[in-house]
Symmetry: C2
């Protein structure tokens, strides 16, 4: 006999993503599938130096327990960056350090969601976050996305219907690459302000806008109604799991208690390393280098798409982040393209799992992970797969 799973646990979605990480790691595979940043852009020497300094300055302190909500000097640095770059006031006490953004989503779900509570999400939306929230068994309300961002009429209706949370990626959304236009940002702010619906603004890709930040943060427009989440996973290292959330003052104490209940504290050793990395290096210049690297990768990738894919396929030209959103012809099932590509040892990520409804003919492609050679080879596999499935040029 075994104890029964909780309702919430039974409701937890399977995620396609991390399974694909393992598939993609098999020898000989080319992956356009996962959300892995480009290894070759990590500044591993600077990270090594930061580690050595942390271990030489205060080795015992670095390895010991620390404040539950995180290493204070790093939180001060993040708060300072919020004031300078993100357009809103924050103190270090508003910044809670977490094990990557994912654990922010988990904690925010835990803080607010009872089974059956309503939650607005983008459709498509980031699958990892949807999985985190699904563990609290909410009723998801999917809000359609177009090239200007989220459908604000649908958001207004969802908030009227009592949605407690709205999870949003306004910049270079994962999976679609879309950023909210300024009018959409203003309208979202008007809807959210004092509505009783808390906005979760996932800013994981905000620093990866190729021409700088693409718009004001929502947090700067409705600070008391927004939790902004951030991460060094796309900029310094995902394996170190250093993320954070900036919460309104009314949420500080409760969120801190939930963080402590969930993990006592996140990894303060790696927080010290990141703090030292930021102290010793010109981070803005470093970010500029990352953006340049991703922009070049994107150009190579889009050129290869142009060369290899039939013209019945459509895709966008993202202005930041690491994803291209591909549509197969209307009425086709992109899962078949996923399977066909896999036969050619190319892994792509079907778009359907990112949707609350629809999206059967979509695919998310990550241009950050593969090398240029892998991009050329992989795109030829994808083009052949399209043709084998009858998605012919000029059909």
């Amino acid at each position: 006999m075994r104890p029964q799973l909780s309702k919430a646990s039974a409701a937890t979605m399977d995620s396609f993503i991390m399974g694909l990480v393992e598939v993609a790691a098999r020898p000989g595979m080319i992956s356009f599938a996962t959300g892995l940043p480009d290894n070759s852009l990590f500044d591993t020497d600077a990270v090594s130096r930061a580690m050595a300094e942390v271990m030489s300055d205060d080795p015992c302190g670095a390895l010991q327990y620390d404040t539950p909500t995180g290493y204070i000097p790093l939180r001060e640095r993040i708060a300072e960056r919020c004031r300078r770059e993100l357009g809103f006031d924050a103190s270090w006490e508003d910044v809670l350090m977490t094990s990557g953004s994912q654990s922010c989503f988990d904690m925010l779900g835990k803080l607010f969601l009872d089974p059956g509570d309503r939650m607005a999400v983008e459709n498509p939306g980031y699958l990892g976050a949807l999985q985190a929230y699904s563990a609290y068994a909410p009723e998801f309300i999917g809000l359609d996305m177009d090239e200007d961002g989220v459908d604000t009429d649908q958001l207004r209706a969802a908030v009227s219907d009592g949605a407690k949370l709205f999870y949003s990626i306004p910049n270079h959304q994962n999976p679609s690459g879309v950023s909210y236009s300024d009018p959409v940002r203003r309208e979202v702010a008007d809807i959210i302000r004092d509505s009783g619906c808390l906005l979760i603004e996932d800013d994981a890709y905000g620093e990866l806008g190729y021409a700088g930040r693409v718009g004001r943060t929502m947090k700067s427009m409705v600070p008391g109604d927004t939790v902004l989440t951030g991460s060094f996973s796309k900029t310094i290292s995902p394996g170190m799991r250093v993320g954070w959330m900036v919460v309104p003052e009314w949420l500080r104490k409760t969120a801190g208690r939930t963080l402590e209940a969930t993990c006592l504290q996140s990894n303060t050793f790696c927080q010290r390393v990141v703090d030292r990395f930021l102290a010793d290096n010109d981070y803005d210049r470093y970010l500029a280098g990352l953006r340049k690297g991703y922009l070049e990768k994107k150009r190579v990738f889009l050129d290869a798409m142009e060369d290899s894919l039939p013209d019945t396929m459509r895709w966008n030209d993202p202005q930041g982040g690491m994803f291209v959103w591909l549509r197969t012809p209307d009425g086709t099932d992109a899962m078949r393209l996923y399977e066909k590509a896999l036969e050619g040892r190319l892994v792509v990520m079907p778009g359907h799992p990112f949707h609350v409804r629809g999206g059967e003919n979509t695919i998310r492609l990550n241009y950050a992970t593969p090398t240029e050679e892998q991009i050329q080879d992989g795109m030829r596999v994808l083009g052949s797969a399209c043709r084998e499935l009858g998605y012919r040029r000029g059909r």
Copy 2:
């Protein structure tokens, strides 16, 4: 307007512990309060070497995402140790890497507990774990502890009453220092076997038995009904947050999904560092050194208690771990002793918060954190505080 907290979140206990970490960090404070291991026993040089090697061997891989359930070579090493030292069979796939033990407790609560579900806990029990479970709003059934361990009649009744989980620290319990006797272990195994109640065996202190392990693991006696949790926080470094759980095969997939939903993956960089630490050093010899250090600390601490405390106070002689359990005279409130000691700049941890019921006259003392000088000075403060409160010698 703000969204309402979830029921579970509203039910989350405040923890006295981590607040005390901040109080204890104030200048001039002596702390016997927290669960911090002894800094001076960390092998910081070996950790530094392990880091440098990890960063020189595969810097990009070390900083990148990895398998959601953790770095496989470390999991193989832990499984091998389970087979060799802990008396049960395990494969690396049974071992899931987490952000310290605390996040195991969180995930197990999430996996099994709906609000109002019954859960058996030791009384007193480890406060951090109680806080983690409290976030899922179970009904706690407290099982009294004596010098042989948990009250098995109460456990049998709790299981009959439908308890889904039993959280237990059979070795050198936090807070009481008690270990289960062999007959109690056998009886617990008989009650749990095929009962539908899952045993959570917290083995955080198992390696810190001064004369070796004090008894068989429960996991070796009822493997299919037990999740064993472990951590390098008490042995190598708490700040790196490297913990794990060994789950029965039937729980692997569901627990992996919950781990992924909660945090995508825990810190694989630090898992590589720990793996390298274990590969390069004689871990058994290292543990022997730790045990020797803690045993010496305990002797100094108990001698100081003998010298400074009135004989109306009673305490035990723990055979491992890092805690002494102190009782003030029957009918007194140890919270007053906490407050009085604080006036003398000594922080101790009241025992009452560790209890589901009772325990007003108990205090948990940690002899690992303070230096020998701090032990002498702190104990004089504690003795004076006792006398000021009228807990006089020979009263």
